[in-house]
Symmetry: C2
Subunit: 468 residues, 2 copies
């Protein structure tokens, strides 16, 4: 890999314009602003040029040009990432995939779809739902994120806990390699044992290996019924303790989300959600059970209730109407935005085996006390996946900029000691890569570098991310 | 990678003995026979030496020794493979993992287990079942295959159709690299977005990247009820056509297996299974529905029945007792062995999007007519995964050895044209690698070679497989 990239000169800019058309090239500083950040803290990195190709041939031509001229290339989806994966830290060309916004086919015979990477996740979910089908990967940002970004980050969402991760739903990918070559990574099949699985390798590779241009997705029949309940607890540990007990009782809920009191408070304040927050309630579990039979759902809810009682649950609220369900989900989904609108923040995406959650949240709070930061935690507790929002609040700039990283390190050390890792669904990108040595050795880094090199000999694609 | 491997001389043999102990080293030709073949056709390749390490340190020391001395290393599980993946085609050292036969932990808090690769799959399935848990990956050879081999081949089995592939259940692996370095590939978490996913890369890599020494497995609550039914059809196409229609009706069965009449005939003849084969029945679907509620199972069965009628199903037999269920499953599971005990054979492991099955089986039979071979087909139809057993029968040796491969090529060409690939769960190993260019380009081969090189610079590990 190289560190001596070139700048985009006039000749190259002209070549880029010839490939995608002048109207699809951005060079003005003001117009580039939108592409200089994602949802990660308040970081800003400007690309030199943004190109918006409309088809795979244009992507291939751009890649070939940049590869031959050692121009860094940063692929960009919707810019909703939380780890800085789409920030063009070395400048160069940004390839924005927003014009790849077509659902090409929903194959009801095979329960598969072919979709372009720039389709908004929720648009796709709704399109297949109209056919009675389910695509269960629905991150909180589903209303704005792109499905291509979800694949690149190994994104999750609440329903993964029952239906399996994105790895189970992405069957095949059309990708453009840095060389400009176009390949399909695998086959449109539910099973695959035909050589190293390039599809799986692409998932979670954060745009560092190739650019995705088509996605073949597995779909399943959509459950017709669901029940949603909100359980209140007097402590974080009690709520987290109930999580693994629910599975041990033989139930797999279709969502099992944790929310801290402070998060709910901010949602009430900032989003005008009407909710009576009782004295002594410190944490919540939002639990959804779905299926096709009301008796089974009822029986699952009874089992869950038994567990909740054993963990000192103070109150269980059943959502009676669609509107109530929608309101409870809105509380969970807007929490990230509400919390972040309050203060400068950093978000960490810890994941542990789920029975480790009580220890994890206890440790996070202790670390907060030690370093003087407030944290608001919520997340996909059923998967052991806890998002930790660290709030600057009254912390001094010096503590925030210098001392805080030791606190974050302690949180990750605890995560790793519990059998977990640094990210469950947000990726490593730019902001977490400094913490990677807490979990991974030089042997891992060397393997990753070797894999990177197999795809991207010149190191032009999304440089400076994950491990570089 | 190198093609100039060395032989194991006396000095190296002594070093191997020092590492694992003399009693765990095999050098006598007669004793090596068992290790010279797997279940692939009648192929025989003798290793120079077999070593049976008992722990990861011994595996690491053997790998380091062989890597430094350019000795080919072939890892071996139970030797039940169907593509020749464990055949030591370059001689050298075989590392037999049979002493890695311990279930190290079943963690009922997290619904996870840690298991050594040499544990027989069925032993593991039964051990977790005793705790009310399910590990749903159960290939037909489950009574003899090792779980490590299952991971290496991306193995499946009937239940994958409902519960997801082995990729969803393998969370983390301890592996030894050719250099002798020992790493964990990931974390013990249900979700993972922390760098290139080495765990997923190992699954299906057929022992060419590293040797697995520990496996962290995800478990789920075990369903308590199931119903099994056998549906008879007057044609292969009708049976295969019903497969995708069942899913479209909103049902995900826990098994959906296809069997041709000829396979059932041979099972009756060879395994003494009592079954009345009616005139005009040409194909069967074995369908299992499981769950925790009898009403739901009943309602699913009614939906299935509706589909079966629409596809001209002639007869549906419900298994009333455990003994009947066992007998029907035995029919399906012993089919491979029965068919193969009749004749010299070749087994192909085609996989297509499931609605392509009728076209696939029609094409297979047409190709058989053209080239003069009989085939017996069965498999995991719900996954679009059809095992094609080609029977030598009365075919001349010349046709078998020379002309047949053109017929097989035609079958794979059809598979690929339907959106499928060469193997869904058996792997490519030795015997299918010649057909890989039907699906994959030199660009794929170059990527795979690069990945291989990142793990195995000297090319010592299981050389001559998949793509080499």
């Amino acid at each position: 890999m190289t560190s001596s990239y070139n700048k985009i000169n006039n000749q190259l800019l002209e070549a880029i314009r010839l490939i995608v058309g002048s109207e699809s090239v951005i060079t003005q500083h003001d117009d580039l602003e939108k592409y200089s950040h994602d949802e990660t803290e308040d970081l800003r990195y400007y690309p030199e040029v943004v190109a918006k190709p409309k088809n795979v041939q244009e992507v291939a031509a751009l890649m070939k040009l940049c590869n031959e001229n050692l121009i860094p290339v940063t692929p960009r989806g919707a810019g909703t990432g939380l780890s800085g994966g789409s920030l063009p830290v070395m400048g160069g060309l940004m390839i924005a995939m927003e014009r790849f916004n077509q659902i090409l086919a929903i194959d009801e015979q095979n329960l598969q779809a072919i979709v372009e990477p720039g389709v908004i996740t929720e648009v796709f979910i709704e399109a297949v739902a109209e056919k009675g089908l389910l695509y269960p990967v629905d991150p909180a940002s589903k209303g704005s994120c792109f499905i291509g970004g979800n694949v690149s980050h190994g994104s999750g969402g609440p329903r993964v806990v029952k239906y399996g991760t994105i790895r189970e739903y992405i069957l095949n990918l059309e990708v453009v390699l840095p060389s400009g070559e176009i390949i399909w990574t695998g086959a449109n099949t539910l099973k695959y044992a035909s050589g190293y699985n390039l599809t799986q390798l692409m998932i979670g590779s954060e745009g560092t290996l190739a650019i995705i241009t088509k996605i073949v997705v597995k779909l399943i029949p959509r459950p017709t019924l669901d029940t949603l309940l909100l359980a209140s607890f007097s402590s974080n540990e009690a709520a987290c303790g109930a999580v693994s007990a629910i599975f041990r009782a033989g139930v797999i809920p279709s969502a099992l989300e944790f929310m801290e009191r402070r998060g709910v408070e901010w949602v009430i304040q900032h989003d005008g959600i009407a909710f009576e927050l009782k004295e002594g309630t410190e944490a919540f579990l939002l639990i959804e059970v779905d299926g096709t039979n009301q008796d089974v759902i009822f029986s699952d809810c009874e089992k869950i209730n038994g567990v909740l009682e054993a963990f000192d649950c103070k109150d269980v609220l059943f959502a009676d109407t669609s509107a109530q369900k929608e309101e409870l989900w809105r509380m969970r989904r807007t929490m990230a935005v509400s919390v972040k609108s309050n203060s400068v923040y950093k978000e960490e995406d810890t994941v542990v085996p789920r029975a480790g959650l009580p220890q994890l949240i206890k440790g996070i709070k202790e670390t907060g006390s030690k370093y003087g930061f407030e944290s608001v935690c919520y997340g996909h507790a059923g998967d052991g996946n806890l998002h930790v929002n660290i709030i600057k609040g009254h912390m001094s700039d010096d503590d925030w900029n210098n001392r805080l990283k030791d606190g974050i390190r302690e949180i990750f050390e605890l995560t790793v000691s519990l059998g977990g890792t640094l990210s469950g669904e947000h990726g490593i990108g730019l902001v977490q890569k400094g913490f990677m040595p807490l979990k991974y050795s030089e042997v891992h880094f060397e393997l990753w570098r070797g894999i990177k090199k197999a795809f991207d000999k010149n190191g032009i694609l999304n440089p400076g991310k994950i491990f570089e």
